[in-house]
Subunit: 363 residues, 4 copies
Amino acid sequence: MAGNTFGRVFRVTTFGESHGQGVGAVIEGCPSRISLSSEDFVRDMARRRPGRPGIASPRKEMDRVEILSGVFEGLTTGVPIVLFIQNKDADSTPYKPLERLFRPGHADYAYFKKYGHFDYKGGGRYSARETAARVAAGVVAGKILAPLGLKVMAYTIELGGIKAENIDLGFVEESPFFCPDSKVTKKMEEVMKKAQEEGDSLGGIAEIRVTGCPAGLGEPVFDKLDAELAKAIMSIGTVKGVEIGEGFEAARLKGSENNDPITPKGFGRNRSGGILGGISNGDDILLRAAMKPIPSIGKEQDTVDKEGQAAKITFTGRHDTSPIPRIIPVLEAMVRIVLADHYLRSKTMTSCIERKSLDNEQS
Amino acid sequence: MAGNTFGRVFRVTTFGESHGQGVGAVIEGCPSRISLSSEDFVRDMARRRPGRPGIASPRKEMDRVEILSGVFEGLTTGVPIVLFIQNKDADSTPYKPLERLFRPGHADYAYFKKYGHFDYKGGGRYSARETAARVAAGVVAGKILAPLGLKVMAYTIELGGIKAENIDLGFVEESPFFCPDSKVTKKMEEVMKKAQEEGDSLGGIAEIRVTGCPAGLGEPVFDKLDAELAKAIMSIGTVKGVEIGEGFEAARLKGSENNDPITPKGFGRNRSGGILGGISNGDDILLRAAMKPIPSIGKEQDTVDKEGQAAKITFTGRHDTSPIPRIIPVLEAMVRIVLADHYLRSKTMTSCIERKSLDNEQS
Amino acid sequence: MAGNTFGRVFRVTTFGESHGQGVGAVIEGCPSRISLSSEDFVRDMARRRPGRPGIASPRKEMDRVEILSGVFEGLTTGVPIVLFIQNKDADSTPYKPLERLFRPGHADYAYFKKYGHFDYKGGGRYSARETAARVAAGVVAGKILAPLGLKVMAYTIELGGIKAENIDLGFVEESPFFCPDSKVTKKMEEVMKKAQEEGDSLGGIAEIRVTGCPAGLGEPVFDKLDAELAKAIMSIGTVKGVEIGEGFEAARLKGSENNDPITPKGFGRNRSGGILGGISNGDDILLRAAMKPIPSIGKEQDTVDKEGQAAKITFTGRHDTSPIPRIIPVLEAMVRIVLADHYLRSKTMTSCIERKSLDNEQS
Amino acid sequence: MAGNTFGRVFRVTTFGESHGQGVGAVIEGCPSRISLSSEDFVRDMARRRPGRPGIASPRKEMDRVEILSGVFEGLTTGVPIVLFIQNKDADSTPYKPLERLFRPGHADYAYFKKYGHFDYKGGGRYSARETAARVAAGVVAGKILAPLGLKVMAYTIELGGIKAENIDLGFVEESPFFCPDSKVTKKMEEVMKKAQEEGDSLGGIAEIRVTGCPAGLGEPVFDKLDAELAKAIMSIGTVKGVEIGEGFEAARLKGSENNDPITPKGFGRNRSGGILGGISNGDDILLRAAMKPIPSIGKEQDTVDKEGQAAKITFTGRHDTSPIPRIIPVLEAMVRIVLADHYLRSKTMTSCIERKSLDNEQS
C-alpha cells in the first residue's frame, strides 16, 4: 500500500522518476478562486536548482512548472491541480556501469528487497529529483498561507561541522548556503571544496522558523502539529533527525527551565518551539533537521551486486557535495504543506467561536 | 478534522480522558484468528504503571484491559477490536484550583484556542493517561509481529543529564529506569530525588532498538518507515526530538564515514539505523527520542487565567518527576504499531517474489 | 484492511457484536462546543427498537446510549466521542443448533471464506444489531445539521408488495410501518401477519427525503453526494438497490423530460433528486432504497455445514418479519452521517465567497 | 476536501478537464513487476471512443494513453503510475454563447454554488471526458485481476425503453450498443435516430456481470463490496440508480424465494448477486445501473444566467444522444477498480489459512 500522498485535506501526491519523462505533483483539496500560474513557481524552483555560486551540481534544468489541470482563466477551480516538471537534462549514461551494483548509503538494496527491482538510473523514484515536485507543491501551499501573514523560512546553521553563530536572517538569501551568518561563508566554502577534492561529501543542520502562525493548528493525539512536521521533514531522503524547540537539549533542562511562562502579553520565552500538546500556540514555530552527507562519493566503496557477489563501486556522475543548500527550499515546502493542510483541517474542527477568529486573521 | 487514528491498515484510534470513565483503543485491520485475551496485556500495562521502585507516581490503577469487541472464543475475528481501561482512581479534586488557569508547559492554552475550552481535570484528553491506550494497542501489534521474530526494545540512555555508558540490554528490565547501565542507577535515583525535593522535574533520552525486522517495510516517498516512526514517536506528548541511526551526528560525518559498506554477509556497519530510502534494510532499526521534563512542577510559575489576567500557579497534585521510566513501554508500543501497520501494508505492495519471502520469514 | 469507518471529516467507526458485551460507535471530527447527553439518543433509539404495535421483534433492549468519552460538562470537546450500547437481552442459546451450519441469505458462508470463522450467535458483527450504533451516531450528525435547518425523513413506500399511494408525511410517525399512507396500514398488517404465519418474511422499499440542504455539498468526482449516499445506504445489510431522483425511471425518460428547467425562482421541477453532478443544488434530496426480505425464516431450507455436507436448517429464534419498520431510523442515520461529513468537508473546499453564504445559512 | 481519489490500497485519482490539456489518472498501490505499456490501453480506449456504427459523437480523439511515470523497462515499479491522455480535438468555440448560462441537467449551477465558478467549456472537470481517465485506470486494475481468472463484462439491457430479451453475451462486442440481444439492434437504432431528429436524448440500463471472483472480497461493515460498487457506479455522472442481484425486485419477494439455498455443489441460485453481508461469495456478481438521458439537447430549455435572470438555452455543439454505448467500458472500469482494490485489501485482512487459498487461486 503506497505512501506517495501527504496530507488529509490539502493532499499532495508526487510522482515521477529522475530519468523518466519528469516529476510532478497532484494537489487535491486546494480551495477554488486562488490565482495560480507558472510564474508563481519560478523563484522557489530557482532556489532549489543547482547553481548557487560555488556549490553547484552540474545538472542544469530549467525546472519550469507546467500546470496540467485545476486552473481555469488564472484561478484554481477546486479540482485537482497537476504540476509537471519535465526532465530535460537527464543523461543516464554514467549510471550504466552501476546497473548491477547496490550503491552504499542509497536505497537500491532496500528497494530491491521490497519491489524486486531497483532503478540504477540515478535512483528513479528515490532520487532527490523527486523533491522538485515537493517544492512546486509547497508554492501552492504558500498561496493558502499567505493571507494569514504566515511565513516559513529555512536556513543552514551547520555545514560539515562549521556552525553559524551570528544569526542574521536578512543575509540568508545572499548566502550561497542559505546561512544566516556571513562570517562563516568562507569556512563553509573551504570545507565544501576540500570534501570535493577528497571525493567525499558533507552533511549539515538546518533550522526552520515559522512566523505568523495562528494558534490552534494541529490535530491531537496522533496528528499533532509537531508529529506531522516531524514526518514531513523525515520523509526527505537525507534527513536523519528532527527537533522541535529545545529538542534534545530539553532532555537536559529542568521543568522550571523548560516551561515557558505565560504572561498577559504572551509567552515569556519560547522553549516549546511554538507547539504545546501538538497544537500551535501562536508563537514562532522552531524546528531543526539534521541531514546526512550525500551518499554518492568519489571514493571507492565496498558493495555487492544483485547476486550478492562482492564488488567495488566508485561514482563518477554528477553529484552534489552536500544536501545543503538545495534542501533548504524543500524543507520550507514540506513545512508549508503541513501548515496548509492543518489550516484547512482546522476549519472543520474548530469551535464556532474560534473559527471566526481564525477567519478574521485571514481577512 | 480529527487526528486520533494512527496507521493505514493496522489502524489504532485512541479515545478517553484522564478523569472520565476511562481510556481505550479501537483497532481496525487486525487479521483474524490471532489469540487474544485480557491476560496478554498484563505485562506491558504493569510496565507502564507507576510503581517501579523509587520513582512512582502515587496514582494507582490496576489498568486491566477489557476487550469490548472483536474477539470470539479467544480469537480475533477480523472486526474492530475495542480495548477499554477504566479510570478507577481519578481524583480530580486537586485540579479544582486550576480551573481557570493555563498550566505552563501543558496544552491548556493551545486547546483553549483551538476548541474553545480546556480540561482542567488533569488535561482530559491530553493527559499522559491516554498513553495507556497506546500501550494496550501495542500489545496487539506485537502479536502480529511476533511470528516474524521481530522484537522491539526501548531503554533509557540519559536521565536528568546522567548518561548510560555501559549498555547491557539484559539489565534493562531490572533497572527502575529501564536503563541498560547498572552503574548509573544510583546516580539517576539521586538526581530524581533531588529534583523532587526542589519541586522540579527532569527529562531524558531513550533509545529504541528493533531486531529481526525483515527488509522491505516502509512506503516511500512520504510514508517512509523513518518518517512514520518519527511521527509516531513525536506524537507522544513529551517528546521533542527524534533521531534515526547516527541522527544529528550524521550531519558531522563525511559520506565515506556515514555510508554503510555492503558485503556478501550483510552491511559492514549500521550508521543508517537499519533504514535506507525509507525502507527497512534487514539490519537492526535504531532510534532515539528526547523527552522534555514533566511540566507539572511544585515551583511557583507565572501564567494567566482564561481572561488573560496574570496569575501564579503551583502544582500540588500527583505527578511523575520525569517521563522516564513510564514512557518506555509507550515508545515500544508506538514502534510496534508502526511496524505492524507496515508489515500488513507490505502485503499489498510487495512484488510476488518478495511477498513469498516475507511470508516464509513468518512461517 | 478493514472498512468499519465511514466519512472523511465526520468519521464514524462502529464496533461490537450482537451477542457480545454491546455495540458502539466512535465519532471523530465532531466540532467542539455542541451540547450532547444520553437523553439526546432516546427518541431515535426507541424508533429503531422492536415494539411498534403489531410488528415487534421479541428482543427487548432499552438500548440506552452511554457516552464513554468526548463530552465534558455537557459539551463536545472536539476529541473522539465514544457511544456504547450494552447488550442486555442477548440470549444466544437458540443459536447453538446452528453452530456448524451456514444460514442461507446470511453472511455466514462469506465470512467463513474471508476470515476463517463465522459467528453463529446471531451473526455477531454482521447482525442487524450493529445498526443500533449507526442510529446513535446519526443523532450526533443530526446535531451538526440542525442549525442549518436541514431535516432528514425516511418512510416506507412499499411493504410486501403493498404500495403507499397517498403520501401524508404528517402520518409517518403514527404509522406502525413509518408509512405515509394511512389507508394501507391494515393491508400491510395483513401481509405481515400472513408472512409470519407462513414462517416467511417480507421486503420493502423506503424513500428518504432531505429538506433544507444547502447547495454545494458533495465532492466530485468520486465522492459525489449521490455516490456517497448510495454507499452509505447500500452498506446497510438488507439493502439491494438505491435510486436518486427518478432513478431507474430516468432511464426511460427523454432529456427534455428529465432535465429540470431553471427559473429565477429555482428549479421548475425535481427529477434530479436535488443533486447535479454530484453536488447538492439546494432542492430537496430524494432517494429510494430497496430492502430484501429478512433471511431468517421459519421454513426449512437447504444448506451445508462447515465441512460442506448437505443439511437442513429451520429458524426458531427471535426474528423480525421484515426490515421495515426498524430500518427506517437507520436509513435516516446514514443519510445524516453523509450530510454532516460533507457539510464539514465543504468548509475546507468552498471558495471564500461561498463559504460565507453557507455559514450565514447556519447562523 | 476533495474527493478525486477512489480506493484504499489500489488508489485511483483522476485529473484534468474537457477543454484543458488533457485528462489523466494517478494510480497508487499497484504492485510492482506487472507488464504495462501504452498498447495495453488501446482496446478499451477504443471501445469508449465515439464512433461505433451509427451512434457516434462527432468528437474524434485518438485517446492514446501515455505513461508518464511508474513503469521501468516495461514493468510497473510499485511507485505511482501516471496515465495521461491529451485533448487533441477540443474546440470550445461552440460553448462561448453558454458562458453565462447554467445548462439544465448539468452541474453548472451546483458547481457555481460550491466553487464560485463553473466551466462553460463543456463542463471542464465535470465533463464525461473525465471518464476516459477511469477507463485507462481500469485497464491497470484488470491487469491485477487477470491472473485470478476474474472477468468483468457490462452490456446494455435497455435503451430508450427498448429492452434486451435474449441475452447472448457472445454478441455484445458486435452490437453497436454493447447489447446482448441481436434482435433489438434495429429498434435501438430507430429510437436513437428518432431522438436525434427531435433534438432530444435517451437513457438506458446496463447490467454488469463479474465471473471468476473469489469468495472473500469486501470489508464490512461500511466498505462492503456492494456498497463500494454502488458508490463507484453512482460516481459516474449519468447514473441515477444501482441494483445488486434481484435489486428492487427483491423487495417484492418472500424470504423463502429470495434466499439462495446452499448445496454441496454451491449456491442453488443467485438472487443475492454474488454478495452476502457485503462479501463476495464466489458466485457471479450481478449489478444493474440506470443512466439518465444526456442533458445536452437540441430543444430549447428554460434556464437562468449567473445573475439569476431568466434565459433560453439551446445546444448546438457535439453531443452524444445517449450515455449508451460509451458508458459501457466506464462501468467495467469502475467495477475492476473496486475489485482490484478489494483484492489487494483482502491480502491484509484475510486469515492466514484463507490468504493462502486466495493466492492459490491466483497462481
